[in-house]
Amino acid sequence: MSDQNPLVYTGRVWKFGDLINTDLIMPSKAFRLPKAEQHMLCFEAVRPGWVRQVKPGDIIVAGENFGMGSSRPIGDVMRAAGIVAVIAESINGLAMRTCVNSSLPAINCAGASKLFEDGDTARVDFLSGKIENLTKGTALQTHPMAPLLAEIVAAGGVIPMLLRQGSIHAEPFVAASS
């Protein structure tokens, strides 16, 4: 859930390890699924059944090089699963821009893996860089999100920006499947 500040989120933690790659978040088998089902394979190879357990407003806490790999709409996929924020020891550069452009805020925070256990409640303030474990009463300070990136997140992502500017057509293109 979002607090009054649009870039502060409080939610249940789902903890993942190092090297969570894009094939684990959105395998290529998901490309041919309808938009509404593309998130159903998220983490299926490492945490089967996760998409049925995760709740809207939950937060991912991951290890090193989260989101390494391909250019895939992983921000959209995680948002569709209910995730509102991503915290990781380190986030792959392409994954970071993909999340930000999809209005899913993400932040690098060294020590995040040790700060949280699965199921803890996290509070993350992207503009100040304060990461708190409300369950344990512990906290870390990291670099805040760059202002330009925070603006993109607050604007709802790049697609809504392009729509408002009249640069793209209003409805997404849907390739025929039959």
Binding site: L19, N21, T22, D23, L24, P27, S28, K29, F31, R32, L33, P34, K35, Q38, E44, A45, V46, E64, N65, M68, G69, S70, S71, R72, P73, D76, S90, I91, N92, G93, L94, M96, R97, T98, N101, S102, N108, A146, L148, L149, I152, G157, V158, I159, M161, L162, L163, Q165, G166, S167, I168, H169, E171, P172, F173, V174, A175, A176, S177, S178
Partner: protein, 419 residues
């Protein structure tokens, strides 16, 4: 304090004198490559209402060519429509197609000193030709092609000073594995490659190393421009090259010396690359394989096919092994035909396919079943990457893959050369 080569490109394209790590540069791309896949994923693509410069947007079909599904066919139909609507200058439809990074290099679209945008993670391939590209997303390319805008965090840069030369049966792919094993991840840093050893490294090896650098999480990758780059680009460019070189007093996060003579062939164990690369002397058990694959933006070049053909010439692929060779572009395929490589490979029992990204991403042309083991010269070995989540993917150089296809077990290419 001077600037790195990457900082210079980001400064020029963002209209600034200098940019420094920590800033976010908002740049105007010199060229945007648009591929088929974004239009095939439902909900990911929005038709543009305008194009910032039809002379700076290229349409290249690569991931699913020729179409293996109605969805992909429909995506490419939309691509053709869009190319016509806006009068795009560069269109590489089926027949002129190939993997975007290979086609861009061959046709002079990855120009030295320029900034290239593409919604594929191996866009850093262009760095092999001194052209700055880093993997972008689908919204990035939409913003780039409509409004001529793309944002990049300016990151610190690590420079590799190469010296010496590679031994026999050691390739650019192995150089990358050596880097990944020795230094691990390079997240949120850019990479420059240069030094006296560069002149001994072929342009093909440089392109492989640049492409593979995505796999240690690098941002931009740039190889110094030299006489070999100029020779490769001769006759390909439609505007003069403007190569960039770092200032002598550029500020690097680290400068590392890499002796090419120390590099050996590597095998990469399944699921990840950094920390997972093994020398053949470290391997104990025989690893049987079901499939061997040479292809992709990293190793679908004519030089890779020559290596493979030289190893299998007059021999046979092992019983029970599927050896799939996918040229990186139509131009590579044609050259391989002219040199007799397709014949040599086919006689040995390999399948030479049409050029596409294909098996690398487990999309078509060689998808793996549960329990199967594949050795591949493509860039990725993630769980589930090439098909079933229960398949295993090992990585090696084209020489290692070809030697393994003959033996039926993963094999040191230096042994195959001696046999």
């Amino acid at each position: 304090m001077g600037a790195t080569a990457i900082e210079k490109i980001l400064a020029r394209t963002s209209g600034k004198d200098v940019v420094r790590p920590g800033e976010v540069a908002v740049c105007r791309p010199d060229i945007v490559l648009h591929i088929d896949l974004p239009m095939a994923i439902e909900g990911a693509w929005y038709k543009p209402k305008k194009i910032f410069d039809p002379g700076r947007v290229a349409m290249i079909f690569d991931h699913a060519v020729p179409s293996p599904s109605i969805k992909d066919a429909s995506a490419m139909a939309e691509g053709r429509r869009m190319a016509k609507e806006f009068g795009l200058k560069y269109v590489f439809d089926v027949g002129r197609h190939g993997i975007a990074h290979v086609v861009a290099a061959e046709n002079g679209l990855a120009r030295p000193g320029e900034l290239l945008v593409c919604a594929d993670s191996h866009t850093c391939a262009s760095g092999g030709l001194n052209c700055a590209g880093r993997g972008a997303g689908i919204p990035d390319t939409l913003q780039a092609m409509t409004n001529g805008i793309v944002w990049y965090p300016v990151t610190p840069t690590i420079r590799y000073e190469l010296k010496g030369r590679l031994g026999p049966m050691v390739s650019g792919k192995d150089v990358f594995f050596y880097i990944a094993q020795t230094w691990g991840g390079h997240g949120n840093t850019s990479i420059e490659y240069g030094g006296p050893g560069l002149k001994s490294l072929t342009v093909a090896d440089r392109r492989t190393i640049a492409t593979m650098s995505a796999e240690v999480g690098a941002e931009f990758v740039l190889v110094d421009y030299d006489a070999l780059t100029a020779e490769y680009l001769n006759g390909r460019l439609d505007r003069p090259a403007t190569p960039v070189q770092a200032d002598k007093d550029a500020d690097y996060l680290d400068v590392r010396t890499l002796d090419l003579a120390e590099v050996e062939p590597y095998l990469v164990l399944p699921d990840a690359i950094p920390g997972n690369c093994r020398r053949f002397s470290e391997l104990k058990d025989k690893i049987r394989i079901d499939q061997a694959f040479i292809g992709s933006c990293a190793n679908g070049l004519i030089e890779d096919l020559r290596v493979a053909a030289a190893i299998v010439r007059g021999r046979k692929v092992a019983q029970g092994v599927r050896f799939i060779v996918t040229p990186g572009s139509q131009a590579v395929y044609l050259q391989a035909l002219r040199e007799g490589l397709v014949e040599t490979l086919t006689e040995a029992g390999a399948v030479v396919t049409n050029s596409t990204c294909g098996a690398c991403l487990g999309y078509h042309m060689g998808v793996l079943a549960p329990g199967e083991i594949c050795i591949t010269a493509s860039p990725r070995n993630f769980k589930g990457r090439m098909g079933s989540n229960d398949a295993q993917v090992y990585l090696g150089s084209p020489a290692t893959v070809a030697a393994s296809a003959l033996a039926g077990v993963i094999s040191d290419p230096r042994a195959a050369a001696r046999a």
